[in-house]
């Protein structure tokens, strides 16, 4: 089956294509070069003058697993008013800030997204996370295994175990849980909270294990690098949301001594302590550090005003944030000597000084980090806002007048203390294509996604050009997933199952003996049952496991 998209205006940054008019060809779900003139074309879509990009990739979105599901159970008010009818081809569901699995997949596809990465998969909860994400239709999924608060690793570090064993352990976990990457959340802090430590800065020691977050961070960054896992260590740093935490963020960047690092939802980690209220933007300093350290990439975790829920592995900071819960209820959970989770519903108000300034901080980061290949568009769904706000966020980046209009509506003191109105950068379509497609694909090592060149999977989004970028990005004319037309005029017309992306770093089998002993002595699950089999994973309902190569370093 050969399909042609005729007259497309293509943005494909991976191949340096910036708004070139051309025809695209798909054969059996794969992008192919223009065939010979006499080749029969089975179907042609006339996409003349329409903007065509690869399907978008969300590098950090909480779409499946324990904390997301606790958030659903906690918040019927986030679901009752937002119930969605099923149809002969689509499943019913509900939800605004934490939509149900089916609705999550449909809404992402309807915005032209074709892959989503769950950033906080607790190894102890991995089976659940994958089973749930298999119910997220259309889009591909992948997950980062959460490490750095597990008693096993902290014991290794406390015992001054060599890097080799740590690498073996990290690799074993990634294999056993079918992870695509590795994330650390508040290194050591989730564990320290279980020991009643209420804060933990980069160089403070964990009360029980005597190791510092710096140590954990370095060991994990090195493990990910040496194992050759494509996506660098994904870091949710210390002191999330704490005024003055920009210092910690800068120290974190310096701590890894040039190793690749991805700092996530950096907006929440870019705060100063200046001004009457002791809360200020340090986005400029953070952006400068990102600009001058090519080993660093970030995603923003933009705040958008409205009701949402924060769901994080960071029990230490979520517990502290419980006072701001809106509505007034929250959950913290210690989990399996592995990690934890905290769920706190939250209302971001434009008339609240702190919230308004958070909004500015995110935009200041977007506008001051120069290289779109190292900054990704996220709201840390649902923590800064639900992912459905992305089109509006894109407009804020592309449209200075709109930004100024919005800036006028926020708390005046916040506006005054932000440099936002002096930043006149407007993102181009090419830059948006980099930041939402090419760059995440490159960072994640997805060789056949995020571009439209020969051999790429035919994940394609076709937009009707519109001067209002929010309108354009919220309702693509067509979306193809692996060559199948899944969305027309912003509505899902066919549902498919995506793939699960994973990586398989090599390890010395000797680690299994150590782990088996550990599990037998301390756990309530045996090692064999902890591990998820490939057949089991596929049995959850994904169409395939796409394994991405590791290049050990």
């Amino acid at each position: 089956m050969l399909v042609r998209l005729k007259g497309a205006v293509v943005y494909d940054p991976m191949h340096g294509i910036d708004g070139r008019r051309m025809d695209l060809f798909i054969r059996d779900g794969i992008m192919v070069p223009a065939p010979r003139r006499d080749t029969r074309i089975d179907h042609t879509y006339d996409v003349r003058d329409r903007i065509v990009m690869a399907g978008a990739i969300d590098i950090h979105t909480h779409i499946g697993g324990g904390k997301v599901n606790i958030a659903r159970a906690l918040l019927p008010e986030d679901h009752m008013p937002y119930a969605v009818q099923g149809s002969p081809i689509l499943r019913a569901g509900s939800g605004h800030a934490v939509p149900t699995s089916f609705i999550t997949g449909y809404r992402y596809a309807e915005m032209g997204y074709t892959a989503c990465f769950e950033p906080a998969m607790l190894p102890a909860n991995a089976r659940h996370a994958h089973a749930e994400m298999a119910d997220v239709p259309i889009v591909d999924t992948g997950a980062y295994a959460l490490l750095g608060n597990d008693d096993f690793l902290l014991r290794l570090l406390a015992g001054k175990t060599g890097q080799k064993v740590i690498n073996d352990y990290v690799a074993w976990i990634v294999n056993a849980t079918h992870a695509h990457g590795v994330k650390v959340v508040n290194p050591g802090g989730i564990s320290a909270f279980k020991f009643n430590q209420r804060d933990l800065d980069l160089d403070v020691r964990h009360e029980h294990y005597g190791v510092s977050p710096r140590r954990i961070l370095k060991a994990l960054a090195r493990a990910v690098h040496e194992l050759g896992i494509c996506h660098p260590l994904h870091v949710h740093g210390c002191n999330l949301g704490v005024p003055g935490n920009a210092e910690t963020t800068l120290k974190t960047i310096a701590a890894v001594e040039g190793l690749p690092l991805h700092l996530t939802h950096v907006q929440f980690h870019s705060y100063g302590r200046e001004g009457d209220r002791g809360f200020s933007s340090a986005a400029a300093r953070i952006a400068e550090a990102v600009n001058s350290n090519p080993n660093i990439s970030i995603d923003v975790g933009q705040v958008m005003f409205g009701q949402t829920v924060t769901a994080s592995g960071d029990t230490m900071l979520q517990y502290r944030g419980r006072r701001h819960a809106h509505p007034k209820k929250w959950v913290c959970m210690d989990i399996e000597c592995d990690a934890g989770c905290g769920v706190v519903p939250f209302l971001y108000r434009d008339h609240n000084f702190v919230n308004a300034l958070q909004w500015c901080v995110g935009l200041e980061l977007f506008l001051q980090v120069r290289d779109p290949w190292r900054i990704f568009l996220t709201t840390d769904h649902p923590n800064g806002a639900p992912f459905t706000t992305y089109p509006r966020l894109i407009r804020l980046l592309m449209d200075r007048a709109f930004r100024a209009e919005m800036l006028d509506r926020i708390h005046p003191e916040a506006r005054k203390s932000s440099i936002l109105d002096s930043l006149d950068r407007e993102y181009s379509l090419a830059e948006i294509a980099i930041m939402t497609r090419a760059a995440p694909a490159r960072s994640l090592g997805l060789q056949t996604r995020g571009h439209l060149g020969r051999g790429a999977a035919a994940d394609i989004t076709v937009y009707e050009p519109n001067r209002n970028a929010e309108r354009m990005f919220s309702k693509p004319a067509l979306v193809f997933k692996d060559g199948v037309l899944v969305v027309r005029d912003g509505k899902v017309i066919q549902s498919t199952s995506g793939q699960v992306h994973a990586t398989r770093p090599a390890y010395d089998r000797g680690i299994e003996r150590v782990l088996k002993q550990y599990f037998d002595r301390y756990h309530t699950v045996s090692l064999g049952n902890f591990r998820i089999g490939s057949d089991e994973l596929l049995g959850f309902g994904r169409s395939a496991i796409s394994v991405h190569p590791c290049v050990p370093r």
Binding site: A73, S101, N125, R127, F195, D334, I335
Partner: protein
């Protein structure tokens, strides 16, 4: 004739209570399972169960499978408001049940939801601080059992979690203390090997909430009025308990909603939650709810991610509607709101089939009694015995793979429901 050989399985996950112990040895001979190492009475009973009536029935008469399926589809098609009850199945079975309910506009309710929803209500009104089995096992130095001794419903809880042979923090295990609050509790198991005995705060079931409230006041440095059950002598005892609570490094309050007084269990769970939160001002505490057997935790999780609600969801309007009062299965049957019942119970040996006038489709383990009483009876296999699957443990975080141990003679719930859905 082949010689009957015995096959022994190790590290079997037991699906017959919500602890999901995964260290069982089970042997198979002549299609019969025999529980070995690690089997508690519940496991033994569940694994060794051999029901009769292996054939589907319609109107109490054996029929071919397709005929039973056809009749079931007919019942669901002609019903205005079907109810999918029981929900005693694994993750895949729950997924198939929700899909079916959506297709035929049914309500979904789990057989143990009266108890489970009390936990949900407290969660939805105030949240909570919770923990999981491995945390309790390794970190707790104080465990408070509220209104339960866990023995009947979770027979190996002590062996696997309370008194393990080793823990990550040895000192916590060595100094681990147990307190019971309630009556008719077997406190003997609260004494570890060579350790001091458990403390008992004896009170009636309906007094537990007051005791917990008094503890919270004492913790806050206030004296509760000495009226009713809070006598002077009692106050002295409670002061001692509070001293222990405050001295604990990591305390866990354990309860089982099903064993609390049905007239005020929500209050008790709320009081537990408040006490836990208050104690966290200075030290670490967390709650652990027992329960969730018969796939209860799996059903709650699957319903939450597929519908947005942990159960008692109705699809009659084509979209999920949550109303824990209105869509309570038993009430729907009694009030005549439901006019057809699809009952799923693939773990229990007693199918707990509700007595009702409405036409009933029963998917249960083989049972002569159910075969006689249901309009349509389709015997199904048990996950982890007859076929593979997965289940959530009581803490809702950990799920475990289940493996079929013998050649299945009956289809899985998921299989039957998927075929049924295709006929609607």
């Amino acid at each position: 004739m082949p010689v009957a050989t015995t096959i022994t399985f190790k590290n079997v996950v037991c699906p017959f209570c919500s602890l999901l112990c995964d260290d069982l040895a089970v042997s198979l001979k002549d299609g019969r399972l025999k529980a070995g190492h690690g089997a508690c009475p519940l496991a033994r009973h569940g694994l060794e169960y051999t029901g009769t009536a292996l054939s589907p029935h319609v109107d109490a008469k054996p029929v071919p499978y397709v005929d039973a399926l056809g009749r079931a589809a007919q019942i669901l098609r002609s019903a205005r408001q079907p109810l999918v009850g029981g929900m005693g199945t694994d993750v895949r079975g729950c997924q198939a049940a929700v899909a079916l309910a959506e297709r035929c506009g049914a309500a979904v309710d789990h057989m143990h939801s009266d108890a489970a929803l009390c936990n949900t209500f407290v969660l939805q009104s105030r949240g909570g601080m919770l923990t999981t089995l491995t945390e309790l096992r390794n970190r707790a130095d104080l465990i408070v059992f509220v209104g339960t001794d866990a023995l009947a419903t979770h027979p190996r809880f002590y062996e696997r979690c309370v008194w393990p042979s080793s823990a990550l923090i040895t000192s916590r295990l060595k100094s681990r203390q147990i307190i019971y609050i309630g009556d008719k509790l077997k406190t003997r198991h609260g004494t570890g090997r060579g350790r001091r005995g458990a403390q008992l705060v004896a009170c009636n079931r309906h007094e537990i909430a007051d005791i917990l409230g008094a503890l919270r006041m004492l913790h806050r440095g206030r004296n509760p009025a000495t009226t009713g059950i809070i006598t002077r002598a009692r106050l002295a005892q409670l002061n001692e308990v509070v001293r222990r609570l405050r001295a604990a490094r990591y305390g866990v309050l354990v309860w089982s909603a099903a064993e609390l007084d049905p007239t005020n269990r929500e209050l008790v769970i709320q009081a537990i939650s408040e006490l836990v939160v208050a104690l966290n001002e200075t030290t670490r505490f967390a709650g652990l709810a027992l329960g969730g057997a018969d796939g209860g935790t799996s059903s709650a999780n699957v319903c939450a991610w597929q519908t947005g609600f942990p159960g008692r969801v109705n699809f009659t309007a084509g979209k999920p509607e949550f109303d824990p009062e209105l869509y309570r299965g038993r009430t729907m049957l009694q009030s005549g709101m439901a006019d057809a019942l699809l009952w799923i119970s693939s773990f229990g040996t007693d199918a707990k089939l509700p007595v009702t006038q409405v036409p009933t489709i029963a998917l249960t383990r083989p049972s002569q009694r159910v075969a006689r009483s249901a309009k349509v009876y389709i015997p199904v296999g048990t996950p982890g015995v007859d076929h593979d699957g997965s289940l959530f443990r009581l803490d809702g975080v950990v799920s475990l793979p289940l493996r079929g141990l013998r050649t299945p003679q009956m289809p899985s719930v998921a299989h039957v429901l998927t075929q049924l859905r295709e006929r609607l």
